[in-house]
Amino acid sequence: MNLLGEDIITEEGEFVINIGPQHPSTHGVLHLKVWLDGEIIKRVQPHLGYIHRSIEKMSENLSYRNFIYATSRMDYLSAHINNQACALCVEKGLGVEATPRAQVIRILMAELTRLSSHQLWWGCTGLDLGAVTPFFYAFREREQIMEIMEETCGARLTQNYSVPGGIMYDIHPNFQKRTKDVMKQIKSKFQEYDDVLTGNVIFENRTKGVGYLSAADAISFGCTGPTARGSAVSCDIRKWHPYDGYEKLQFDEITETGGDCYARYMVRMHEMKQSVSIIEQLIDNIPEGDFQAKTKVVLKLPKGEFFQRVETARGELGVYIVSDGAASPYRIKYRSPNFSNLSALDHMARGCKIGDLVAIMSTIDLVIPDVDR
C-alpha cells in the first residue's frame, strides 16, 4: 500500500510507482504513474491538469487584443511565438497584414526565442542525464538573449511583443548590434557544446536506441517539432505553411532518421545553427517603415472560423478562433504541441528501463503549462 491507499504491486506482479507531480525530471508539475516489471517499464499513464488555468475559457471573455497575453503563459519558453500565432490568426480574420518591418522583427524575435528555448533544453537535458556543466554553458549564452529581449520588449520571458497588425513598439537602438555580437559568440560555442556533451560516451549510451518512435507512429500520435523530425517526419510549419515571410528565407528543415533520443537531440542541435543563420540573414535587412499596421481600437472579427498554424520551439501550435461577430472570441482552441507529444510517451517508454524514462522525457522537451493550458 502507498500513501494513497493503492496497491503498489498489481495482481500480475507489476510494481507501480508514481513519479511527480513534484519531481525534477518532469520539468514541471506532471504526474506519471509507471507500471514496472523489475526495471522494465510496462506502461506509463500521465496524469495532467495540475496547473490547468482554463486559458481557453478565459479568452472567451477577453477582447481580441487582450487574449494574446494569456498565451505567453502556455509554452513560456516560446512565449513570443505563441503571441505571434494569435496575432496572425486575428490578422487573418481582420484581413490585415503586419507591416514588412514588423514581420521581419517578429521572425528575428521568434528565432531568438527558439535559440534560447533550445539552449535551456540542452542545459536541462545534460542535467537530467548527470552532466552539470552543460547547464552553465547554456545559460551563459541564453542570458545574453534574455537581455536582448529585456531591452527591446521589457520582459525576459513573457514578451507580449506581437499585437494584431504588427509589434507593440519599435526595436531598441542597440538591438541590431547586440544581436550580431551574441550570434557571433553563440556560433563560436557550438563546437564547445558538441565537445562537452554530444560526443560523450555516457551520454551516447544513455540516448542511442532509447525511446524509439517510428515515423508512422509519430504522425499517428500527432507528434510535431523536433520530436517528430527525429523520426524523419517532415513537419516544419515554417516550410509547409510559411507565415510572416519565412518563404523568403534560406534555411533547412532538419530531420534525423534514428527515431531515438539521440536523433531528437541532434535535430535540436542543428536547429540552433539554422536559427542563427536566419537571424544573420535578417539582422541587417530590417526594412524601414511603420512597425504596426493601422487597426481599429476595438477589434471585431467577422463571423466565421480562422485557423493559424505556427512552428514553436516544440512543434506545431494551432490557434483556432470561432467568431460570432462580437468583440471577443466565441470559442478558442489551442492545439498545443506538447499535449500531442506527451501522448506518445507511453508508446515510447514501453520496454525501456526506468532510468531511460528521464532521457525520453528530456528529449520530448515538455513544457507542462502548455500541456495543461
Binding site: 495532467l48 491538469g49 490547468h52 482554463s54 481557453e56 475559457k57 471573455n61 487573418k92 507512429d217 504522425i219 499517428s220 500520435f221 500527432g222 510535431t224 517526419v233 517532415s234 513537419c235 509547409w240 466565421g304 472560423e305 480562422f306 485557423f307 498554424r309 506545431e316 494551432g318 483556432y320 470561432v322 466565441y330 470559442r331 482552441k333 492545439r335 499535449f339 500531442s340 506527451l342 501522448s343 506518445a344 508508446h347 495543461d372 493550458r373
Partner: protein, 151 residues
C-alpha cells in the same frame, strides 16, 4: 489536391455529405452516424490518405454541439475539416476515432472533460485535465461558475 478535387474525391466515396466552402479549408458536414465510415475512408483511401489529425475540438452552439476534426495528409499535403453536428445536448454521444489516429485518444478525453461529449469505444474515457470529482463541463456555454466575475 485542390479543394475542388478534394470535393470530387470525397463525394465519390460518400455521396450523401454536404460541404461548406466559406472558410480557409474545405469543410465536410456530416451527422454523427456517418463519422466512423467517413473517417476510415479518408484515412485508408490512397488518393486522400489523411494520416495526420492535427486538431480535434468541439464548439457549443447552445442549440447543438459541433465536433471539429482538422485533417491533413502528410503525403499529398491537402487539408480537410470534418464537422459532425450533435443535436442531443443532454446526452451527447459520438464514436471515437482513436483507433484511426492515436492522437485522438488524448484529444477526445479533453473534449469529454470540458464539453461532456462521450466517445463510444474509447479505450480510456476519463477526465484528463480536471479532477474526477469536478461537476459540470466548463466550456459549455451554460456552465455557471460562482467564482467567475464579469467585468
Amino acid at each position: 489536391m485542390t479543394n475542388e478535387e478534394l470535393k470530387i474525391a470525397v463525394s465519390a466515396l460518400f455521396p450523401s455529405v454536404t460541404y461548406d466552402e466559406t472558410g480557409e479549408y474545405l469543410t465536410v458536414l456530416i451527422s454523427p452516424a456517418e463519422l466512423s465510415p467517413l473517417m476510415n475512408g479518408l484515412r485508408s483511401n490512397g488518393d486522400l490518405s489523411f494520416d495526420y489529425l492535427f486538431c480535434l475540438t468541439a464548439v457549443d452552439w447552445k442549440t447543438h454541439l459541433t465536433l471539429v476534426y482538422h485533417l491533413q495528409s502528410k503525403v499529398h499535403r491537402h487539408v480537410l475539416v470534418v464537422k459532425a453536428k450533435i443535436t442531443d445536448i443532454a446526452n451527447p454521444v459520438i464514436e471515437t476515432v482513436s483507433d484511426i489516429w492515436q492522437t485522438a485518444n488524448f484529444h477526445e478525453r479533453e473534449v469529454y472533460d470540458l464539453f461532456g461529449i462521450t466517445f463510444t469505444r474509447h479505450p480510456d474515457m476519463r477526465r484528463i485535465l480536471l479532477d474526477e470529482s469536478w461537476e459540470g463541463y466548463p466550456l459549455r456555454k451554460n456552465y455557471v461558475d460562482e467564482n467567475m466575475i464579469e467585468i
